[in-house]
């Protein structure tokens, strides 16, 4: 690895880190605005024009709050919990191809931090670790509500990860590669996977909502039953990190959904462009897709009420997993037929 590559990757990592945090911050603003619009209100509009500085005010508030650790809490795990959540939320963005190659200073720079040949497995692995942040935080708080939230989160994650993985396998079957870069390149132009696998996309989307702990699957933190769920005892920036990691993972999993099913940075008519123009347009297309996903996720949150826990388990085990398995089998048969294996 030469020095120039080291520098360009470090710069990309730093840039992605800042963008993820910035997007997460402005998602909170956008979410509040959207909630307000849906409820016929105006929303935050006092901090700066149209309330555009609201996330900064919120962040400052979070930092200035008293950082409280309960007396009987396990101190180290209590501190590590939000850290794990934030870490796993951020690290997933490293395998996502954010656009076509950029030509800068005579070098062809790939907009993907690490092109693993097992990118999709890496994503699933990291997402599964994400639940440890919630579990450890909820357990270390030494509070019944936190523990309930943590248990709910872990059982929900386990139930929905199965269906999520099975629906993602169909994409791997179609592409014949686990690398996210290959998956994106196979969807060149308008040849998106969602047209071949609408059902898999649908299941993946629902399970993503569950993995993100977003409504209608926000049982780990439902205020009305569990006070705050796993973050009941958290305050100050530790709470801030939990809330932030939720928004960051929302951003990242929107990106993953766009990569797997909506062609990533591909857009119709992309062959007409080349070089840096293409790179900028592809990044814009990708950002637009991510924005639309974030919008739909928020729109759903402010529309439908929360599941009951038995309904959640019923949906996960008795509906989504069988449907995903059938979908996978049919896809497998079709792929085998096309390859001439049968």
């Amino acid at each position: 690895m030469d020095t120039a590559m080291l520098i360009e990757k470090s710069a990309l990592v730093l840039l992605l880190f800042l963008i993820s945090l910035g997007v997460a911050a402005y998602q909170t603003y956008f979410e509040r605005k959207l909630a307000a619009w849906i409820q016929d209100r105006v929303g935050p509009d006092r901090a700066g024009p149209f309330g555009i500085l609201q996330p900064i005010a919120d962040g400052t508030k979070m930092f200035l709050k008293e950082d409280f650790i309960p007396a009987k809490a396990d101190k180290w795990l209590f501190i590590i919990g939000p850290g794990i959540s934030m870490f796993t939320a951020l690290i997933t963005s490293s395998v996502i191809p954010w656009g076509t190659n950029v030509n800068l200073f005579g070098r062809d720079i790939s907009l993907q931090v690490a092109d693993f040949n097992i990118g999709i497995l890496f994503v699933f692995g990291v997402v599964s670790i994400g639940v440890y942040g919630i579990m450890i935080g909820g357990w270390a708080s030494n509070n019944k509500y936190s523990l309930y939230g943590a248990i709910r989160a872990s059982s929900q994650m386990i139930s929905y990860e199965l269906a999520m993985g099975i629906s993602a396998i169909t994409i791997v079957m179609l592409t014949g590669s686990l690398s996210l870069n290959d998956i994106v390149q196979s969807q060149h132009g308008m040849n998106w996977n969602v047209f071949y696998q609408p059902l898999a996309f649908f299941i993946f989307f629902i399970t993503s909502l569950a993995e993100l702990n977003r409504a209608p699957f926000d049982l780990p933190e439902c205020e009305s039953e569990l006070i705050g769920g796993y973050h009941t005892e958290y305050s100050s920036m530790k709470l801030g990190l939990y809330l932030f990691s939720e928004y960051t993972s929302m951003f990242v999993s929107s990106a993953i959904m766009a990569v797997l099913f909506f062609g990533g940075y591909n857009f119709p008519g992309m062959d007409a462009f080349s070089g840096n123009t293409l790179a900028i347009l592809s990044i814009a297309a990708f950002a637009l897709k991510i924005f639309l996903f974030i919008f739909v996720i928020m729109w759903i949150r402010w529309t439908i009420p929360r599941f009951r826990f038995d309904q959640l388990m019923h949906l996960g085990w008795k509906v989504l997993i069988p449907v995903a398995i059938v979908n996978m089998l049919i896809t497998g048969l079709v792929v085998a037929w096309n390859q001439g294996w049968m």
């Binding site: 849906i38 509009d45 729109w299 529309t303 439908i304």
Partner: protein, 180 residues
């Protein structure tokens, strides 16, 4: 009974069909409803910057009027205090002495006049009871305070200034004074 609205629905407990059981159509319907609300024009009035237009007969903070020559109309008859259902008005009367003719219109006047704005229900009965057209409710809003005793408005807040009259021409005059 005749239905009062057109939203009446007969409740039934028949089992859901498969179409209803998958819930997706219902969820999409709900999302369309929220989208409709999202695109609707907001009716919020952002208060300190914009204010609602008050009706001409809005009943807000009271004013004790002076006549054309700047003399206080109030004669401390106490009819407003009697009429007040919230018992918010107290006053003490005094006799006008020589040399005060430019201050008070008649021989008797209110040496102190207090309205407790926390008790007041802004019903306007004081205005209706007043035979001298001395007290009126205006379209001004009683400001918020931190201490309770700051809500007891004395004459310094109630009586209008000679050079800064409160306009009440939009309100209905009872015409009692012209009858006299």
């Amino acid at each position: 009974m005749e239905s009062l609205t057109n939203r009446k629905k007969v409740v039934s407990d028949k089992p859901m069909t498969l179409w209803e059981k998958i819930y997706i159509p219902a969820i999409v319907g709900g999302m369309m409803t929220t989208m409709k609300h999202m695109l609707r024009r907001r009716k919020t009035i952002k208060y300190p910057e914009e204010t609602r237009v008050f009706a001409p007969v809005y009943r807000g903070q009271h004013v004790l009027k002076r006549d054309e020559q700047g003399r206080e109309n109030c004669t401390a008859c106490g009819l407003c205090a009697v009429a007040c259902p919230a018992e918010a008005i107290t006053m003490t009367s005094a006799e006008r002495v020589k040399g005060e003719e430019h201050l008070y219109r008649e021989e008797k006047y209110a040496s102190s006049y207090e309205i407790n704005m926390l008790r007041c229900i802004f019903c306007g009965l004081c205005e209706e009871a007043c035979p001298k057209e001395a007290i009126f409710l205006t379209d001004r809003i009683v400001t918020t305070e931190f201490e309770r005793d700051e809500f007891i408005y004395a004459k310094d807040k109630l009586v209008e200034a000679v050079d800064d009259r409160i306009d009440i021409t939009k309100r209905q005059f009872t015409g009692k004074r012209t009858e006299k």
